[in-house]
Subunit: 497 residues, 2 copies
């Protein structure tokens, strides 16, 4: 081996810092322009084949430089977004992020903290953000919490703790197969798929998830739940957890969380609440009543990147008993012990409270955004989203061409085009075609689901950019497209010999 | 309900876009200045109590505005980093990120894509990045892959697939308890703690992980492994997986992956390789030989945010059999089916290949960075890191005051201060005090571990900013501090009456 040349080393730092600064300025200008003019562009647009083909190129061996890489982004990536930023984007449950939130993510990436813990400001910021969330959502001050990538991870963490705390054996050491009785848990048919995913991943098997029917408001049927519990106990199973929904994906329904909390206490079950977006309704004084019982959860999942409009990703789990939380995830290793001083000296490592050891400094955008706007602004926006959703529901209710398919709860509106007297062979197929055409027109992007067997257009309003007029546009476009499709079909039928 | 006022709605968008642009420019300037002058600042510094106390303030109810929030960041967060950016930061295994990588994260946060899939450019970018990684690491073109937050998640995903594929029952449906034989897997004593975490989380229990001893080079002992396998089979267990290490955290050791691949084929085990940082050594033609056998893995975990210096977080898992991968994670839901057109129309949803449904658009920084620098630059930097680590090892070897504690493999150097002839009661305690003092001085941040029962200073060189001279500084500082501590101790002993 030769002695490395001193002073001629390579680095990824730019040779010309001034050029990188100038590029950074251009990127800021472009992005602000992009965000400021969102309303003038289509919500979504298809990707031309010419652009699509570009993504088949092999890994670049030679450098093309930062400017060229950014130009490629501007030309071929930026114009073809998922579509969740626009004022008329209401598909799935997405937030939009904010300009300053994105800038906060930039400085977080500059600091490039591995937020697994240690004695540094990132640890203090995350601890403070979790304290703020406990305050905002009515959790006790000695509860623990963790930021993670979203509701799927938060549900997994909550259920993992439930399983470990309630198991009759030391599952971490001897495994689920050593448990004397099969462990089972309960959730309604409207529960998010991430709960099924978690149950499978934890080794319980999907059969362990007892799917309880819902009532006409899509809330868990408490009588059926009690029957299932009794039946399982009689059959020798080990019920260990009940999951409450606070804002289902399909309709925004909220289970009776107080009743579930009482049942969990009586039956000695872990009470996990999936409040992925609904939990944050508690920020609004007018809506807080709908979340009653949530504050009694043993673990609570929610997503600041949904109904607090933070840039993706930042989810959160709160856990009533910090020791249970830590005991489920902490594993010791020689290379991660703490010294009495220096960067490793800190009482808690976040990596002891979850699956990840490498963790992005996601707390920073939450911290900077809450300081930017204050909690009051979020309270008002969440209330505005619900008010707007009620406005949309009323427009639908008043239209002879449209039909609500589920009772309004929170901020989700499920409906379809169903004009009185029109001869329609299949409303499902018509509405599916209508939705695709609406989405492809770039005017609005509701998503879809199936409600009581019927294909539904689904609007989930967690959009801080939406105005009431955007729902006027949605309703008139759906009605216009629906009638146009009926005419097309008649034309097609008539022209068939 | 009243009709919402049209046109007076609230939003999180700035009232003054020009002011937000100006703030963005200032943030870019500050961050570039910060990165350009890193070398002049301490690697790490303690947080003053005055600053620490600020993070106890309650959640802000009123807005303070973006400028003020950013000023708070500059004053109270930025000066107290984890310390992994600096040219003399070598603790744990951290990358540093890059200026353009951070800007790429900014534009990703502006687009705010939920990268779960769908017909949008983010899906194409991630698919292309995974193709590039398959090419770079010698995986077949029909393999699948997923970006995720890091090695812990990648190991969990790999082992989850292994378990599902190899189980004698449909574990996803009926659970681990229904398996006729206990499932067990094999890994060396040097294996990362995330493997234990994964094994616990999957419900197998830590007992299922058979910890195999290592030889003097810290590689898995193949004789012991074969004996354990035979013994488990004889006792009625069900061996299903062997984990190979490609760069252990403690010493950077690489198991004999070809031998493990042969054994896995012969014994019909899933072959998972934890290459969290070591896999990327394959980018360097000079180092590729050390990774031989990796390309035969059924699943491979590695971290672009480690040895490709990408901003945290971006890890990756590659899986040889895409169907196995998908079958382990895909769950159907009414609200996630695909329509024949529009934003949901795409053959693969990334969320079907992992735990997360909400996923950050992490692929963008990888894509933009690989275009910026070209793969060739990464090949050269990885080789440079190893060359520098060898240089450090030689400096240690040549010093009468220092002692190497493990053979050099890849880029990790474990050593201690152990001067010839010095009377030292406890080298462990001395080296621990030395390390804390070194870290707190701000000169350099190696981390620590325990090698054969001895406390070791540990340098993991995945730093694109390090120059050879930085190791000259490290060695002279360690020797200086070590002697100073010995003198202090003698003084303390002499002054004791």
């Amino acid at each position: 081996m030769n002695t490395p040349s001193h002073g001629t080393e390579k680095t990824l730092d730019p040779a010309d810092w001034q050029a990188m600064r100038a590029l950074g300025h251009r990127m800021v200008d472009d992005m602000m322009e992009y965000l400021e003019t969102l309303r003038d562009r289509p919500v979504w647009q298809p990707i031309p084949d010419r652009v699509r083909a570009r993504f088949g190129s092999p890994v670049p061996e030679a450098p093309e430089g930062a400017e060229s890489a950014y130009d490629d982004f501007v030309e071929n990536v930026l114009p073809y977004p998922h579509g969740n930023l626009h004022p008329r984007a209401w598909g799935w449950v997405n937030g939009q992020g904010t300009p300053f939130g994105a800038l906060a993510d930039f400085v977080a990436s500059v600091m490039n903290t591995n937020a697994h813990g240690g004695d540094n400001a990132a640890s203090l910021v995350e601890a403070q953000v979790i304290t703020w969330f406990k305050d905002l959502l009515g959790f006790p001050s000695d509860a623990s919490g963790l930021l993670l990538s979203g509701g799927s991870m938060a549900n997994l963490v909550g259920l993992a703790i439930a399983l470990n705390v309630k198991a009759e054996v030391d599952v971490q050491q001897v495994g689920l197969a050593a448990a004397p009785r099969r462990m089972v848990l309960y959730a309604s048919s409207q529960t998010h798929l991430s709960v099924t995913k978690a149950v499978r991943l934890l080794g319980l098997g999907a059969d362990a998830l007892r799917v309880i029917p819902v009532d006409e408001r899509f809330q868990i049927d408490l009588v059926a739940l009690n029957e299932a519990l009794a039946s399982d106990r009689a059959a020798g199973f080990h019920p260990f957890c009940v999951v409450g929904n606070l804002g289902t994906v399909n309709t925004g329904a909220v289970d009776d969380l107080t009743a579930l909390a009482n049942l969990a206490a009586r039956e000695r079950l872990w009470f996990h609440v999936d409040g992925a977006f609904g939990a944050l309704a508690a920020l609004s004084p007018e809506l807080r009543g709908m979340t009653a019982g949530m504050e009694r959860a043993d673990s609570l999942a929610f997503d600041p990147h949904k109904w607090m409009y933070m840039p993706i990703d930042v989810g959160c789990v709160l856990v009533r008993d910090a020791e249970h939380h830590r005991n489920t995830f902490a594993v010791k290793a020689d290379y991660l012990t703490q010294l009495p001083g220096g960067p490793s000296a800190t009482p808690n490592w976040f990596s002891d409270f979850g699956i990840q050891l490498s963790r992005r400094f996601s707390a920073l955008k939450v911290w900077m955004s809450l300081k930017e706007h204050g909690a009051g602004k979020y309270r008002a926006l969440i209330a505005q989203n619900v008010e707007h959703a009620r406005y949309l529901a009323r427009l639908i209710d008043e239209s002879p061409h449209l039909e609500l398919l589920a009772p309004m709860a929170l901020n989700v509106v499920c409906f379809r085009f169903a004009p009185v007297g029109a001869e329609v062979e299949s409303l499902d197929e018509l509405n599916e075609r209508l939705l695709v055409r609406l989405q492809e027109s770039g005017v609005a992007t509701p998503s879809h689901t199936v409600i009581n067997g019927r294909f539904a257009l689904r609007v989930a309003n967690t959009n801080h950019r939406t105005r009431a007029e955007d729902f006027d546009v949605l309703v008139s476009e759906v009605v216009r497209l629906g009638h146009a499709l009926i005419l097309e079909r008649r034309g097609a039928v008539c022209s068939t010999p």
